[in-house]
């Protein structure tokens, strides 16, 4: 029998009270929120999948001489800032490491590591976003420029939106860490954003490889 420790979302209520449900039995060792977030991420991965499908069709099903294609009315190809994106990849991978550090620090009750790890992660994520925005401004084409532009902005934009959401969650987690809301036992509030952040990171690597490299 596995009975799961109450998560930090539950503020234990008095059990002598008449009006309460019987204690729930848990048939799996996985904590529900953790399973929940993994399922949610599976769903998210499929959403990325649909955007990748559109990208695949624009690139493969429609004949092109080159990819990136030739800008209509000229004879130059569209340009992708591959190098900048590589830097961004490195930044994001590093931020995965730092968030992992934060989580392990918390589990070991090492508060300084927790705060430092999280702060670094937020900073790195922010840098990533800023570089991405700068890239958008200078890239020289827009979502309206051919299916090429649409799929490029579609995929990187969808990913950017996820980075943004992840950053929000991490920022709140950081604020709560500073207030000392988490402990070595109650760390779901940090673990969920961290899992989400790893996902965002992995998704970026896929986007990077498929859009910039291949």
């Amino acid at each position: 029998m596995t009975s799961i420790a109450h998560t930090d979302s539950d503020h234990g209520h008095s059990h002598d009270h008449e009006d309460h449900p019987p204690e729930q039995y848990y048939s799996s060792k996985v904590e529900p929120p953790i399973l929940g977030i993994y399922l949610f991420l599976a769903s998210e991965a499929m959403l990325f999948g649909s955007f990748f499908a559109a990208y695949f069709f624009a690139r493969v099903a429609v004949p092109h001489e080159f990819w990136p294609p030739i800008r209509p009315g000229t004879n130059v190809q569209f340009q992708l800032p591959v190098f900048l994106a590589l830097i961004n990849t490195i930044i994001l991978v590093t931020s995965s490491v730092t968030v992992h550090w934060a989580v392990t620090s918390l589990k070991r009750n090492y508060r300084a590591g927790l705060i430092a790890g999280l702060s670094l992660t937020v900073l790195l994520g922010l840098t990533f976003l800023l570089i991405q925005i700068r890239e958008y401004m200078r890239i020289g084409f827009s979502p309206r420029d051919e299916a090429f532009g649409s799929t490029f902005f579609g995929l990187t934009g969808l990913h950017g939106a996820h980075v943004f959401m992840g950053l929000m969650f991490l920022t709140f987690a950081l604020m709560r860490s500073m207030k000392g809301h988490y402990s070595a036992k109650h760390h779901l509030g940090l673990e969920l954003p961290a899992i989400y952040w790893h996902f965002v990171d992995v998704m970026w690597i896929v986007v990077y490889v498929m859009v910039y490299v291949v």
């Binding site: 039995y25 529900p32 929120p33 399973l35 499929m46 999948g49 649909s50 624009a58 649409s150």
Partner: protein, 653 residues
């Protein structure tokens, strides 16, 4: 703990009064704050769009499609916030002290509680059911307009634009606001109880799932109010017709997003609940087949629904941002839309049927007083359908101009789906065999379902053969197929389920005579409406036409008459439900002598379903096996003195 059995005890534990909310009406979560926030959201969305557009010198500042996009995203969020759906999470994420869970969101004391944000799975189940039947009636009324127009060739009642609008909204409502969510509603009510849980894993997420649904329905219906009339590119909304349509087409795209988000959230909830919250002894192979069915369906939903979200996002970008995902002029690929759409929408047809399979298994076994034949294979065939279901989407595109080599593999997988489905059909028949069949209303629907669904499935097999599909695609043969699988299939199982659990949900019995009248009238009218459509289609009548060759006038007239009777038969159902709910005979805890857990407790169940988590000691369908038990409830110990055997109960989880 209490010694009385749950069945007998009126377990109406007093609603612990939650501390009085001192906030005034505008601050307190509820309809008033909801209305206020809605207005604010509307203002913000409008100001946001017009502000940005005037700053960016975009002309016109009042661009309807951009405004609609902002409205359909922001206003619903504001409304939900006003209703208080998000309060807890916002508190949690920002680290404010959350209100201690006093379970004030549980249970319903009066009808008013059904109009509040409630986290009780039983309340949410009922909220779901009422909402979706409302949309069923609206969608059905649109079908009445369709049939009235088609009664004679030529255009009489409604012009082609209105006709296409009615067809599109009819199907959209039926699919996204009736069949898909009705199973979420029924599942919500019974699944936690069936597996011996006190509630769903995430009750607040559950409430959010429900509240997103009326929003989706409202958005879809609101499209009628926009210039150009309702969206009218069919429920498949193929590009590039969809992007050419008036802005009301956005309402399909955004409505589907809300409905899709709702169903993903519920599915995720079901999966976590089923995996982590089964009662002790409830191994996977002791789960009732409805639970199995919801398990596979939910997996389909979680993995497939993002694809329709994606397809509609991309369409929306093409319209609002003028991107080129599916625009030929900008190098987009038109057929790509269909691949993405059907990658969801084929699995969606199993999303709309597998829970029905589960219901039929429950009902058949109980009323035939026999165990389900080949229980394990029944469970595994659901899993087989789950996997195969992902590999057949292109059978909707055999003539769509996709890569020709894809046709044969997709045809083979499509045809192979007959095998697991056949296993289910034959096992049901074998379950009837040598049973002692009681033809109560739920059983009539379940038995009627088998043969009607088989007709639909077999016409599906014909469509699945590429050469036959080349002739029959996009004709009334397909319309007949749709309705045999969706009406004769899904809707029949829905009626079976609603009659079956009506006593459990309301604590009252429905009227058996009216229930039977409803079945027989529907059964006959349904076949009159849709059977001849096979013939009409093969002879040359395309679908989605307001006007047709006079050669088909007679059969269309018959079909229309059948359709009206079909509509009228639904009135019997509504009458029966409403009157029995108010004044039906009180229902005992277990009127059907069923073994599954939900029937071992009172009707309606007490607020937390159980006093103590039940112990599962055997399979769910051991009818006719002397002494077999599925579950031991603490309350039943007054009747039984046995203790669960460790060998069967404790060891297996």
């Amino acid at each position: 703990m209490s010694t009385h059995t749950i069945e007998h005890g009126e377990h109406e534990v007093g609603h612990a009064p939650s501390p009085p909310d001192r906030r005034n009406l505008l601050q307190r979560p509820g309809w008033i704050r909801g209305a206020l926030y809605t207005a604010i959201g509307f203002g913000i969305a409008t100001a946001f769009v017009t502000g940005i557009r005037s700053l960016g010198d975009l002309d016109p500042v009042w661009e309807l499609d951009v405004l609609l996009t902002a409205w359909t995203v922001i206003v619903p969020l504001a409304f939900l916030a006003g209703m208080g759906v998000f309060s807890y999470w916002i508190y949690w994420v920002t680290g404010k002290p959350t209100q201690p869970e006093d379970h004030s969101g549980h249970g319903a004391e009066s009808w008013k509680d059904y109009f509040r944000v409630n986290t009780d799975h039983k309340v949410i189940g009922v909220q779901y059911l009422i909402t979706v039947f409302f949309f069923f009636i609206i969608g059905g009324l649109m079908a009445m307009f369709i049939r009235a127009e088609l009664a004679e060739p030529g255009t009489q009642l409604i012009d082609p634009n209105a006709f296409n609008g009615f067809t599109s909204v009819h199907a959209t409502l039926m699919i996204f606001l009736f069949v898909v969510p009705v199973f979420a509603g029924l599942g919500n009510y019974v699944i936690p109880i069936m597996i011996g849980a006190t509630d769903m894993a995430f009750p607040r997420l559950n409430a959010l799932s429900f509240w997103m649904l009326p929003i989706a329905g409202f958005i879809i219906l609101a499209s009628f109010l926009l210039p150009g009339g309702a969206f009218s590119a069919g429920w498949t909304n193929y590009a590039p017709l969809a992007t050419q349509q008036p802005d009301s087409n956005l309402m399909f795209q955004m409505g589907v997003q809300w409905a899709g988000a709702s169903s993903i959230a519920t599915a995720l909830n079901f999966l976590v609940t089923i995996i982590t919250m089964r009662a002790p002894g409830m191994t996977f192979f002791r789960m009732p087949l409805l639970v199995w069915a919801n398990f596979t369906t939910s997996t389909l939903v979680v993995l497939a629904t993002p694809f329709i979200a994606g397809s509609q996002f991309l369409l929306m970008f093409d319209r609002v941002l003028h991107t080129n995902f599916f625009e030929v002029a900008g190098g987009g690929y038109v057929v790509g839309y269909q691949h993405i759409f059907w990658f969801y929408s084929h699995p969606a047809v199993y999303i709309m049927l597998l829970p029905g399979f589960g219901i039929v298994s429950e009902v058949l076994s109980v009323f035939a007083r026999k165990p389900i034949f080949g229980y394990r294979l029944m469970a595994l065939s659901l899993v087989a359908i789950l996997f195969l279901g992902f590999s057949v989407w292109a059978h909707h595109m055999f003539v769509a101009g996709m890569a020709p080599w894809l046709r044969i593999p997709m045809m083979i997988t499509t045809l192979l789906i007959a095998v697991p489905t056949g296993i289910k059909v034959f096992s049901w028949l074998a379950t009837l065999w040598e049973g002692r069949i009681h033809f109560k209303t739920p059983m009539l629907w379940a038995v009627g379902f088998i043969s009607m669904f088989v007709i639909g499935g077999l016409s599906g097999i014909m469509l699945g053969s590429v050469p036959i599909d080349q002739h029959a695609s996009d004709t009334y043969f397909v319309v007949a197929h749709i309705h045999y699988v969706l009406y004769g299939g899904s809707v029949f199982t829905i009626f079976a389920g609603v009659y079956y659990w009506f006593p459990k949900m309301t604590g009252r019995m429905y009227n058996e005579a009216l229930g039977k009248a409803h079945f027989w009238l529907t059964f006959v009218a349904f076949n009159v409406t849709f059977f001849a459509q096979h013939w009409v289609g093969l002879q040359g009548m395309p679908r989605r036409v307001a006007d047709y060759d006079p050669a088909f006038a007679n059969w269309n007239m018959i079909s229309s008459i059948g359709g009206f009777v079909l509509g009228a038969s639904t009135l019997i159902f509504l009458y029966n439900m409403l009157v029995s709910w108010r004044s039906g005979a009180p229902a005992p805890g277990n009127p059907w002598r069923a073994l599954t857990i939900e029937w071992q407790i009172s009707s309606p169940p007490s607020k937390y379903n159980f006093d103590e988590i039940p112990q599962v000691v055997g399979g769910p369908y051991e009818y006719g096996v002397p002494g077999a038990r599925h579950v031991v409830l603490n309350g039943s110990r007054t009747v039984e003195t046995e203790k669960p055997e460790p060998a069967t109960a404790g060891a297996e989880h």
